[in-house]
Symmetry: C2
Subunit: 310 residues, 2 copies
């Protein structure tokens, strides 16, 4: 069964890893957010693609959820010593990847072409694709001003209330090679338990991708990133409060009702099932925390169940 | 007393450090070879400037003579894992510097401007200047073909016999800001015990620098890089054999006779003193190995003696 997944960083990576514990990874196409890509000291950094690559290859720091295991920070220490900016710290092992990618992109390779090569060289069997090769940048509007995603998230510690999220460049952005094909060939399209505003939103801001997902709504299942109204990691709950007026599964369903036939929600949010159904989205209740093998399997089986039932 | 030094990497750095143990470093301008600069994975690497910077700031690996103390190699390990070229390995701490420099140069800063900032940020008091901000590349012609300096030196282990050394771009290269001023203001110009063909040669290949040194020949003293016909480090002796027909102090004098009034040679080469004098260059015999404090001081005092005697 061919599966396409729309994914952000940590939650997306853990979901895809759980999925490939159950299904053949060669059947999986992962379409990844690039809205928080940035240049750090002239190096092209793609936080979500990197988290996917590291997590799925086993190179990642599992506890932290991002970056490399056994990472060292000597280059950053030198950059600081030399008076360079260090609000976005780069690990040494991580820099190795950025250097290879940046060099290839400066030679004219697309992000997707480089990503495919990198994924192959660490042994990934899933198809790992950036949503777009064009420049698309998530910007966060707050009472303190507008910031790039990582600037708001890292440099400012995501403390500013988010009034609006905009996707700069989305109008002109075209899906990367393989993205539409992956969506069209999929018997199941899963929206990973990632932040709908800053992880999934930038992917769907590419109009051709949104249209392709909408066309296949019957085959689309989203997984709520909230458990009991809280994000497992990151600022999703605060963003739901300011942008969607609440942190229930109903608000998650509001984000995806035009796109997904079903929403997987955690048992802790079972009370919201009715409100989800009222929005025309089938609620699928299970455990969504991916820390335990049994729970992961239950989550994946629930997601796969959409198609099996259909 | 103002002093200008023409310097290559390891020998040049040790000589300047010895010099600044005796004289006020604020009086010293170091004009450095850039002929073996190269791009490694899109990062601008300047091996000799870096060796000077590390050695003089105390950040260097003293035993190895180049690179940083306490260096780690995790970025390079990743580059290798990802299938990137690794014949020129970059240490993690070293990469920190390359990243800062490359970013500044991509923004339009000159190599000399960046170098001045970097030198200041690690507390250097000498003026550290690249010979030129223009592109100047040393190329090595061998029976196996023509190579860039570092390619011949590192990737091929400097095993190919050198038939000719050429300085690509030298004709158009102009001295970096401060270089001519440093030479003109100097009461003493020292040519460090660096390789005349691939370390000092590229500096003097900039015609305005050569002319400025020639004009002040009376104030110029060179230090032989050979001791008993052997190089302390590196391939200088083999190059002397193939390019100058011998490894005596006389051959060193041949390299510098139009430029230097005196040549410091090691006691081990005292027998060559007469041949040096025959070339119109005053031989100054002392110990030139810089590993012992007393010997270093003797060497520096001998160099300084040129002006004191004059």
């Amino acid at each position: 069964m061919r599966i396409a997944v729309l994914a952000g960083g940590v939650g997306g990576a853990r979901f895809v890893r759980a999925l490939t514990e159950v299904v053949d990874p060669r059947q999986v196409t992962v379409i990844v957010n690039v809205g928080d890509d940035l240049e750090v000291h002239g190096l092209y950094v793609s936080p979500d693609l990197d988290t996917l690559l590291y997590t799925l290859s086993g190179l990642g720091d599992d506890e932290r959820g991002w970056g490399r295991a056994g990472e060292t920070w000597n280059a950053s220490e030198t950059i600081e010593l030399l008076g360079g900016e260090t609000w976005f710290q780069l690990g040494d092992r991580d820099i190795g990847l950025h250097v290879v990618r940046t060099e290839a992109m400066r030679r004219g390779d697309s992000l997707s072409a480089v990503t495919t090569r990198l994924a192959r060289s660490v042994g990934l069997e899933v198809a790992l694709l950036p949503a777009t090769d064009d420049r698309l940048r998530t910007r966060i509007r707050t009472p303190a001003g507008e910031f790039e995603l990582q600037e708001w998230f890292v440099a400012r510690g995501h403390r500013d209330t988010v009034n609006e999220v905009v996707y700069e460049g989305a109008e002109a952005a075209r899906p990367a090679a393989g993205v539409l094909e992956g969506l069209e060939a999929a018997e199941l399209i899963a929206i990973a338990p990632s932040n709908p505003f800053v992880s999934i939103g930038p992917i769907l801001a590419v109009s051709a991708i949104r249209a392709a997902v909408e066309r296949r709504r019957d085959r689309v299942v989203a997984v709520s990133p909230l458990i009991g109204g809280r994000a497992v990691k990151g600022p999703a709950d605060a963003m739901f409060t300011s942008l969607a007026g609440g942190t229930g599964a109903a608000q998650v369903a509001d984000c995806y009702k035009d796109l997904a036939a079903a929403l997987v929600l955690d048992e802790a949010d079972a009370d919201d099932a009715e409100a989800v159904a009222e929005r025309g989205v089938r609620p699928l209740v299970t455990t969504t925390l991916m820390s335990e093998p049994d729970a992961r399997r239950a989550l994946v089986e629930t997601v796969l169940g959409l198609t099996r039932a259909a």
